[in-house]
């Protein structure tokens, strides 16, 4: 498998606090790549630095040969790197379909003039975009909620909608920040099936997750962060037996 994302010595500090220190790893095309670590290890900060919400201080980030270092979030999305948020960030007063259509912003082109004149291009684009959004809603399992306002969806459905919105940009790499948080076992299973089938379609996934069983079961490889530094990288088996990882988790969950 070829490399898709190359992260090289990325660092980020806030004031005197080092949130990330020289983090390097590689995500290969077509794999599910886990990012784990104790609370406050810098996992979400890493996602934010990768997707342009924070400016990293140093380092290099390349996606399929394109540098994403210090690019704007929308440029990073356009390059093919989409994400979801740990604390679900939907457009609450927009319908599910509209949320997904916004996610397709970079793959559509109609501007003010096209909208005013209702050009043929604009009409086709709108129609296609709406249909595509509906497909994605079906795909993540909330196809019946097309016109429901995002804020009126259940918690689990909101998580799915966020995934659909991210998928709307047809990314090469999708980063999910604790997608299973707050889900019941049934919802978790559905989520796992969704991730596996997305991978089968050729999508590469990155995953921050606290549910160790889920991560160990689904990820091909993992990187483990502790205090903003990488302490291990490899397959679940290797990581599980790494003494540094066991120490970081106080020999608790991971070994179990």
């Amino acid at each position: 498998m070829s490399d898709l994302l190359q992260v090289t010595t990325v660092s980020k500090h806030f004031g005197g606090i080092k949130a990330l220190t020289d983090v390097s790893f590689t995500v290969r095309k077509g794999e599910i790549f886990g990012v784990i670590g104790p609370n406050g290890a810098g996992k979400t900060t890493l996602f934010n630095a990768l997707t342009g919400l924070y400016q990293p201080d140093t380092g290099a980030i390349d996606l399929a040969g394109v540098s994403l270092y210090r690019r704007k979030p929308h440029e990073i999305l356009k390059a093919g790197f989409a994400r979801t948020f740990q604390n679900i960030r939907l457009f609450h007063n927009m319908t599910a379909q509209e949320n997904v259509m916004v996610g397709r912003h970079t793959r559509t082109t109609s501007g003010v003039l096209a909208a005013l004149l209702h050009t043929q291009h604009n009409r086709r684009e709108e129609r296609d975009c709406a249909a595509f959004a509906q497909q994605l809603l079906d795909r993540v399992g909330i196809g019946q909620h097309t016109h429901t306002l995002a804020k009126n969806l259940s918690y689990g459905d909101q998580r799915r909608l966020e995934i659909a919105r991210a998928l709307a940009s047809e990314p090469k790499l999708l980063a999910l920040d604790e997608p299973a948080a707050g889900m019941n076992p049934n919802e978790k299973n559905a989520l796992r099936d969704l991730m596996v089938s997305l991978r089968e379609e050729g999508l590469t996934l990155m995953l921050i997750e606290h549910d160790v069983k889920l991560v160990m079961g689904i990820c091909d490889r993992l990187v483990v962060l502790d205090y903003g530094e990488k302490i291990a990288e490899g397959t679940p088996d290797i990581v599980r037996h790494d003494p540094k990882v066991i120490a970081a988790y106080l020999g608790g969950e991971v070994a179990a």
């Binding site: 806030f14 996602f47 934010n48 919400l53 924070y54 740990q86 604390n87």
Partner: protein, 310 residues
Amino acid sequence: MDIFAQQLVNGLVLGSVYALVALGYTLVYGILELINFAHGETTMMGSMIALAVIGALFGVAPDLPGILIVLAGLLVAIPACMLLGYSIERVAYRPLRHAPRLAPLITAIGMSIVLQNVAMLIWGKQYIAFPTTLLPQGRHDVFGASITDVQIAILVLTVTIMAGLVTLVNRTRLGRAMRATAQAPAVAQLMGVNVNRVISATFVIGAALAAIAGVMVSANYGQAHYYMGFLLGLKAFSAAVLGGIGNLAGAMLGGLLLGVIEALGAGYIGDLTGGFLGSNYQDIFAFLVLILVLTLKPSGLLGSRSVERA
């Protein structure tokens, strides 16, 4: 006479007034995230009420010491404004606490219009003179600037009030409740804080400061007017934002800074632009500085930089 020193003094006096009014904005904003647009009008009401009392008392008992008459005006204006501040919150803001964010802004504007026009109906459209002869007329030379007794009184009073307010917020039970409510109203309520009472108290304290500022400004400039609260409120709010809204020290710093910048700007604008712009551009300074500061530091001088969590 040294122009720089003189304008500095004038600026500090003006800035003291701004700071006191700005504190009212910032206290309320800190707790409710609401721009109390009617606060400028509360200040105006403070001026007007005090002037009415002073005028009446002077008419009845002209032999009383002037300072006592002015003090009486102040002592009536303060509770009157406190009551006004309390009523404004109850009528215009409390019912809308969970409404869309802009709704209370519009009621605030409505209240502001109401107060202006009430004042106009009661006191008329003309400027009302402050009988400045009641106050000490002394002038002192300090570093080349001429400073009046009234100005000294304003500066001393402002410093005293600020110190008192800081003590209140940091050292008392009420202050602790206010800080808790500002941080997390729901949690404060669970911990037994009577949030409604705290909010009322905040408005009342802000209104008392506004009343004092209103009397100060009319004593310093010798007049009051039903429309004076508008621009004063605007400048004071700008001062609060400049310092970082919600932050007490920020409001004080912002107010003083704005006053000084305005006074120096008015004094030097002609020289700075080679005579191109005159002192009629004085009001521009407040806004230019504000825009400049916020462009460089989006949450104000002392505002905590809120790192948004992703």
